[in-house]
């Protein structure tokens, strides 16, 4: 396969070498079922325990607070539906810019008698703490937005939630490995993590859960993961997740600086093209640049960049098949015309300064070309 420069790390990050090496034995000679009591099974159980400790350490949690799932979507569903199922229906609030795997489970609660209200953002994509209703029992606000990378004031939400006895959940899938995360300092009741966004494999994620939260499982049968998530453990992926967490945390300081420098370069180029960066006024993840060039359609730009050898996204991957403007940008009050121009560039561990320089050159060329076509059409 012709390998384009990959600048879509927020969709899925390439697997780290150390992760692959750690996983392969579990697709080979070490194949036991972790519930078996013979040596094959016990070895698998030990590997899961080690990975659990690594994931916990990456976010300052206790290993017993980590519940492994098949990924971020499942962890979000598990918390929102699971916590709600054990409460009297009331008010649930999620931010207007949540990933569909938070928004949709929250919408499902309406059928069970809950009232759903969204928390709005300001023009830079910051979710408004003051919009939290005093009656809310269940809140979910992402740590960092997948499109803009804007960081949310989770401790402020946690303090407010605590005052009114509500459970606060945060989807930290995009934040892990890009900024320091501390489960206790954030003060949340639950936090969602995913392996494949940090150089781990697809197919593993976790819900980090305060044990005071009573949760109904989403998947029953066998009682794995303290009864919260049944099903034979995906050991290879869990082992990979553990190693990815360890690597991500160890390299965080250096990687953050590198990502920031790369992003600064991209944003200088965007500014030169007269483009606007969404959420630029807010604190953001160091790796994400979400922008639009005036008068240039996002889908077209992404297609041109792909042919030029650069893999970027026009929005969140899950919805990138739909032509509607991004919900995140709509929530921020961005005009539909400008929103349709949005493209997301997200760098990561494998990105080099050369990749970024080449991208900037390509962006300038492609933008010129598209503007030229537009001028011809207008003439």
């Amino acid at each position: 396969m012709f390998a384009p420069v990959y600048l879509d790390h927020n969709a899925s990050a390439p697997l780290l070498d150390a992760v692959r090496e750690a996983m392969l034995p579990w697709l080979g000679a070490r194949f036991g079922n972790a519930s078996s009591r013979h040596e094959y099974g016990r070895a698998a159980r030990r590997a899961i325990d080690d990975a659990r400790a690594q994931v916990a350490a990456a976010v300052g949690a206790h290993p017993t607070e980590v519940v492994f799932t098949s990924g971020g979507s499942e962890a979000n569903n598990l918390f929102i539906k699971g916590a709600a199922a054990r409460m009297k229906p009331g008010l649930v609030q999620v931010s207007a810019i949540e990933h569909p795997c938070v928004r949709e489970p929250a919408r499902q609660l309406v059928r069970a008698g809950w009232t759903l209200a969204e928390l709005p953002t300001d023009a830079d994509g910051r979710v408004q703490v003051h919009a939290l209703d005093a009656r809310t029992q269940l809140v979910s606000v992402m740590t960092a937005n997948n499109e803009t990378g804007v960081l949310q004031d989770i401790p402020a939400f946690a303090a407010a939630a605590k005052r009114q006895g509500a459970w606060l959940h945060t989807d930290a899938v995009q934040a892990l490995g890009k900024i320091p995360l501390d489960f206790r300092a954030l003060g949340v009741a639950a936090m969602t993590l995913s392996a494949h966004k940090i150089g781990g494999p697809q197919g593993a994620g976790a819900l980090v859960l305060d044990k005071r939260v009573d949760l109904e499982p989403l998947i029953a049968g066998g009682g794995h993961e303290r009864g919260l998530r049944s099903g034979t453990e995906n050991i290879a992926a869990i082992v990979g997740f553990g190693v990815a967490c360890k690597e991500a945390v160890a390299a965080l300081g250096a990687r953050r600086e590198a990502m920031q420098a790369q992003r600064a370069l991209i944003e200088r180029c965007v500014a030169e093209q007269g483009g606007s960066v969404f959420g630029a006024g807010a604190e953001r993840l160091p790796n994400t640049c979400y922008f639009a060039l005036p008068g240039i359609d996002g889908e077209t730009l992404v297609g041109k960049l792909d042919r030029a050898g650069f893999a970027v996204a026009s929005g969140a991957a899950c919805s990138s098949a739909s032509p509607e403007p991004s919900r995140t940008l709509t929530a921020m009050g961005v005009a539909a015309d400008l929103a349709r121009g949005a493209i997301r560039v997200s760098v990561g561990a494998s990105t080099t300064m050369q990749d970024v320089n080449e991208f900037c050159g390509a962006l300038a060329r492609v933008a010129d070309e598209l503007r030229g076509l537009r001028a011809m059409a207008a003439a």
Partner: protein
């Protein structure tokens, strides 16, 4: 050369076939795209690989690829099928039926539905582990909405009469779900003929990776489900969440191999199982659990009377076997499956499940036979019960003092 411990626990999980692993590895290296990414080649390639695997899975069971929904494994498939269908069709009725010997993933899901207000019937199997079709017919009610019966039992390997059950269900308009986690690659499955509406599959019981499974959802007549996991609308809205491409590719390859090699493999496995059975039947007071005819060749579940199962498993450390299903093996309770067959606790406690597979050798079987002969002899020497039996005492007539 024998490698210890000898693995005879293929029903708990199987090794990933090296051919499957080889097919997975590129997806763990340069091809890492998210199959939902529509804007670049990384995403398209992943999507194409996912669709090819879907075809392989569909082919093994003679279904349409559009009828296959990826999940994280058979447990999730069972949850999605049972809760999804029961919820969607709850307007039609709230009575559901299953067997007492089903996997926990089915039984626990049934319990959950009971808590929600459904009424469940748990049928007792016959002594041979098979469903009693007359009892089944008698249990059906006008408000029966769903029946869930496993294809092959995980502990005793018996094959349920899925075709007959399907006919009965279809005639009455009842949704029929089948947990086929233990069946793929062991029995031929033709969903064009079988009147099954929903069927659960697992990769890791068929030499694929863990963490991936599928649910067959019939299109004609169309079966509707309420999704259990919501989000980005993957899998036509039935199951959201990023698809793990390498695992899906692995499941596809595992099911392709199963389709192509099942015939020859089953013959070889049957020969090994029969050899094991013959070798162990020499031991006095042994009883095979479950019917031997309607049974996959991979499974042998035997009770060795007057030997305590746990001590036996400890004594045969060179062989990796289990006393029941892996999912319940953490508990010291006797197998609920064997008890449902009417085995008394003592015999249920002294049972061992041997499950044979693709990489089992004759040498391993012979070693196991010899080991069991020696160890059971030794354990029985220490058993006062065995001594009494040897002296001709009928233990059933003994009045035991209770402390």
């Amino acid at each position: 050369m024998l490698k210890f411990p000898i693995y005879l626990d293929y029903s708990a999980t199987t090794p990933v076939d090296p051919r499957v692993a080889a097919k997975m590895i590129p997806w763990l290296t340069e091809q890492f795209g998210n199959p939902a990414s529509r804007s670049h080649a990384y995403g398209w390639e992943a999507e194409a690989a996912v669709e090819e695997a879907r075809e392989q899975v569909a082919k093994l069971v003679n279904a349409d690829p559009k009828e296959i929904v990826w999940t994280s494994g058979a447990t999730e498939s069972n949850n999605l099928a049972i809760k999804g269908a029961a919820h969607f069709y709850s307007g039609k009725g709230k009575h559901i039926i299953t067997l007492r010997t089903e996997h926990k993933a089915v039984l626990d899901t049934f319990r959950e539905l009971e808590r929600e207000g459904f009424e469940a019937t748990y049928l007792d199997p016959k002594e041979d582990g098979l469903i009693d079709l007359d009892a089944f017919r008698a249990a059906l009610r006008p408000d029966t909405v769903l029946v869930s019966i496993m294809f092959v039992n995980n502990e005793i390997g018996v094959i349920q009469p899925i075709a007959e059950i399907g006919e009965i269900c279809r005639e009455k308009g009842i949704i029929f779900h089948v947990d086929a986690a233990q069946a793929t690659g062991k029995v031929a499955i033709d969903l064009d003929k079988l009147k099954v509406d929903l069927m659960s599959f697992s990769a890791h019981k068929t030499y694929g990776p863990k963490g991936i499974g599928a649910l067959y959802v019939r299109r004609k007549p169309r079966i509707r489900l309420e999704a259990q996991m919501h989000g980005g609308g993957h899998e036509r809205g039935l199951r959201s969440g990023t698809l793990a491409t390498h695992q899906i590719v692995g499941m596809g390859e595992a099911f392709r191999i199963a389709r192509e090699e099942m015939g020859a493999e089953n013959e070889r496995v049957r020969m090994l199982r029969d050899r094991l059975l013959k070798g162990l039947q020499d031991i006095e007071a042994t009883y095979v659990n479950g019917d031997l005819e309607a049974r996959v060749p991979h499974n042998l579940n035997i009770s060795f009377a007057y030997v305590e199962g746990e001590s036996l498993i400890m004594a045969i450390k060179e062989v990796a076997v289990s006393s029941g299903s892996a999912c319940t093996s953490a508990s010291l309770e006797p197998s609920y499956v064997l008890r449902a067959l009417g085995r008394e606790d003592e015999l249920a406690h002294s049972s061992i499940r041997f499950s044979i597979g693709r990489f089992t050798t004759e040498e391993e079987v012979d070693f196991t036979i010899d080991l069991l002969h020696r160890k059971i002899g030794k354990l029985r020497e220490l058993s006062p019960l065995w001594e009494m039996v040897q002296e001709g005492v009928d233990l059933n007539t003994v009045q035991w003092a209770h402390h």
